[in-house]
Amino acid sequence: MRILQDFARSLRQLPRVSMVAVGVFVTLGVLAPYIAPHDPNAQDLLAAHAGISWEHWLGADHLGRDTLSRLIVSARTSLVGMCLVLLIALSVGITIGTIAGYKRGWVEEVLMRIVDVGLAMPSLIVALAVIGIFGTGYWNMIFALALAWWPGSARISRAVAVGVMNRPHIETLRVLGASPLRVYFHHLLPTTIGAVLVYATADAGAVALSIATLSFLGLGIQPPTPEWGQMLVDALPYLETVPMQVILPGLVLTAVVIGFNLLGESIALNRVPTPLSRRILASRRMLASNWTRAQQ
């Protein structure tokens, strides 16, 4: 019960707009097949670019497919893609970052220089290069984006790991004879993962945007799987005649990216210790003086 209360309290601290955007996105992604009113791939060429109606609440695209259903199912495409990219990127990044932070010395130097090379290259360029070599396809896109994203998490992981390794309790553990594996898996890794996941929240929006970008370029999700970037590029030739078909996926994508960015930012800010208020400071001083008196 206390865990739930803590969770609810931490949610209340987050900006509502971002919570709504991310919440709707995740809900749609999870429940997409059950709440989409139509088969997102069912074509009705006679209904191409049909306007808003009871049949098609947000109209139909250039092949007569229901736009609302495609927007909803696209949320699942992006959500799954985003989770896979972050899972792979964070796994690789955290492993390399924590090894560097634990071992230090030449191991750290070598690993961090590799990370520097990775960070020096724009993520989209890396992804395009990988897709250029291995070809288009869902898994190639996931691995391409993961390859572009891991250096960032490795850099953060290493910074966190170095901080953790310098804490007194790690030194105490070592003095007490804790094995390196115990220190790494029981103390270093869990602490680092927690910290890095916070930063990953902000990355989620950027990953969703990259998936849409690659699909927009025809290099990501392949038809008929609905995806926002693909919906955008399909609708672009009709920008003047049916602008809504361009605006809708653009709007949804923007909301999700802003939502994740705000969420990541606020989580990061919540982790920064806020200065103590005068009242709390006074009470703590009082506590400390009482404790000192009691000792005497």
């Binding site: 060429l45 250039h62 092949l63 070809g135 396809g137 025809g218 392949q222 038809p223 008929p224 030739p237």
Partner: protein, 523 residues
């Protein structure tokens, strides 16, 4: 009269307005003096007519052929006034036009012609041209008469001498001491003034031998994005856009422009979008019944209406009627899912959902490149959905232009979209280039590979006489149609748009030309 602050401000505003309007008036006057502004999707590039890098349409402005390919496959005199084909097609005699000068003042004569021919004819790099591959020799009869001899009768001989490259003529003075190309100097109506990545400027060649354009300058403006070009023509920033290779206009864009009151010219083009099948990679496609089922499994008419706004006509032949020797017209296959299902059943592909045979699913991969054929992904999506209804699982693979150029010749596709070459390369450009398995056509790849049945037909047509060539080419058309060796989809329309400032526009006879002739600027 009392001058207060308000009067002073009004006066200053008036003066500012007059000063600001002056450059606009000046520009308008300059415009009236005559600058035709043409959009291009990319810079003109290296315009050397004997290289293969520049924009065709821009090379057409500067360099001229001996004879021009006209609508309907006729030829009109250009730098040659007469020509005769003799000795059963082994001798070609040209009578050259007199009093023609290159832009640098060098005379056009037999010597200039031979100098140009020697730069490409009979060389390995141009062996894809029959005239070059079968070249035997040339002879100057007099200053204005040249004879070219060939080892064998040359197929499409006159067509080849109308190509934009390498058959056009460069000034012999426009090269350095080592003979390397330096400047684009031809005999055409336009001289290049300057060229950058943003565009090129051309000045009318006042000593041009033919009908001179009525305006003095032509500006090529590079606008890579098609939406940018559409906005520019609507705003009046450009006067002319279009052409398959210069600045393509999509059907949806043409309709939008028409709705906005921009004059759009749509004519039957000379090329066709054809789906190539690769039975070597997907054995299911070896079965005629499967090919027939696919052919009637999707709705060409609906696709034409929805995706091409009715501007691209559904096709059943690999050439439109505008192409010489395009063959008798076959009826456009109508979509018939029931008949398609029956064919697949007969072929042994059965089951609900995706059909199966001997444990294999009936799955086909379509490779599309939006850069090669705009709208091809949507076209593939319709095929995917409609063929899915008859139990064929279609997977779409979108590739960029470079990947398309490697995947298609390497036959990494089950179905891929091709575009026939169009005039003046037709019909033998496509027949030899895309249908003859033994002919290496580089990055274009093969539409059909059938050495056993199709190659003999192609070779027979290639060596046919004037009297039998029609029958021989018809045999190819019949074979492709009966065997469903490929799927003709749509005839590519020739789409151009111009502003009301331009009058007298006529669509060019080939998509490789720039249609500046006969144009007038109204203001």
């Amino acid at each position: 009269m009392q001058t207060n602050r308000r009067t002073l401000l009004k006066g200053m505003a008036g003066m500012t307005a007059i000063l600001a309007t002056n450059p606009i008036i000046a520009l308008a006057q300059e415009g009236a003096g005559g600058v035709l502004r043409v959009a291009a999707a990319k810079p003109a590039g290296d315009l050397n007519p004997h290289a293969f890098k520049g924009l065709w349409a821009v090379q057409d402005l500067i360099f001229e052929p001996l004879l021009r390919y006209e609508h309907g496959g006729r030829f009109s005199p250009a730098l040659a006034t007469e020509w005769q084909v003799e000795d059963g097609g082994r001798l070609l005699r040209f009578k050259l036009r007199q009093n023609v000068k290159f832009h640098d003042g060098a005379p056009w004569n037999a010597e200039a012609m031979i100098w140009n021919l020697d730069r490409w004819i009979g060389k390995d790099s141009t062996a894809w041209m029959n005239a070059s591959r079968l070249f035997a020799g040339h002879k100057v009869i007099d200053d204005y008469t040249v004879e070219i001899t060939f080892k064998e009768p040359v197929l499409g001989l006159l067509n080849e001498f109308s190509y934009v490259r390498p058959s056009r003529f460069l000034s012999p003075k426009s090269v350095d001491a080592a003979g390397n190309y330096q400047k684009p100097i031809g005999t055409g109506a336009w001289m290049e003034e300057q060229a950058t990545n943003d565009g090129s400027e051309f000045e009318r060649f006042d000593d041009y031998w033919g009908d001179k354009p009525g305006y003095k300058h032509l500006e090529l403006m590079v606008l890579p994005d098609s939406r940018g070009r559409m906005a520019a023509i609507r705003a009046g920033d450009i006067d002319l856009t279009g052409g398959e290779f210069l600045a393509p206009i999509k059907a949806t864009e043409a309709v939008t422009l028409q709705a906005a009151g921009v004059p759009v010219v749509v004519e039957q083009g000379t090329s066709t979008i054809v789906a190539g099948l690769n039975p070597d990679r997907n054995p299911a496609l070896k079965d005629l019944k499967v090919r027939q089922a696919i052919n009637i499994g999707f709705d060409r008419n609906a696709i034409s209406q929805v995706l091409y706004k009715g501007l691209a006509q559904p096709a059943a032949n690999i050439f439109p009627e505008t192409v010489h020797l395009s063959g008798k017209r076959f009826p456009v296959p109508a979509r018939d899912p029931e008949a398609a299902r029956k064919l697949l059943d007969e072929a042994g592909w059965v089951g609900d959902g995706v059909r199966e045979k001997d444990g294999q699913t009936l799955s086909i991969e379509i490779v599309v490149s939006e850069e090669q054929i705009a709208g091809s992904r949507s076209l593939a999506e319709v095929m995917q959905a409609q063929l899915g209804e008859i139990g064929i699982d279609v997977k779409i693979r979108s590739v960029d232009h470079a990947s398309r150029h490697s995947d298609i010749p390497a036959r990494h596709f089950d179905i891929a979209l091709f575009t026939t070459f169009g005039a003046p390369y037709e019909p033998f450009g496509t027949i030899i280039g895309l249908l003859l398995s033994t002919y290496d056509n580089g990055v274009d790849g093969k539409l059909v590979i059938d050495p056993e049945h199709l190659d003999p037909l192609v070779n027979a047509a290639a060596s046919a006489s004037e009297d039998t060539v029609e029958q021989a080419t018809q045999a190819i058309h019949d074979y492709l149609h009966d065997q469903v060796s490929c799927l003709p989809l749509f005839y590519v329309p020739s789409i151009w748009a111009h502003t009301n400032r331009v009058s007298g526009f006529k669509a060019p006879s080939t998509e490789y030309d720039l249609p500046y002739k006969g144009l007038a600027l109204n203001f």
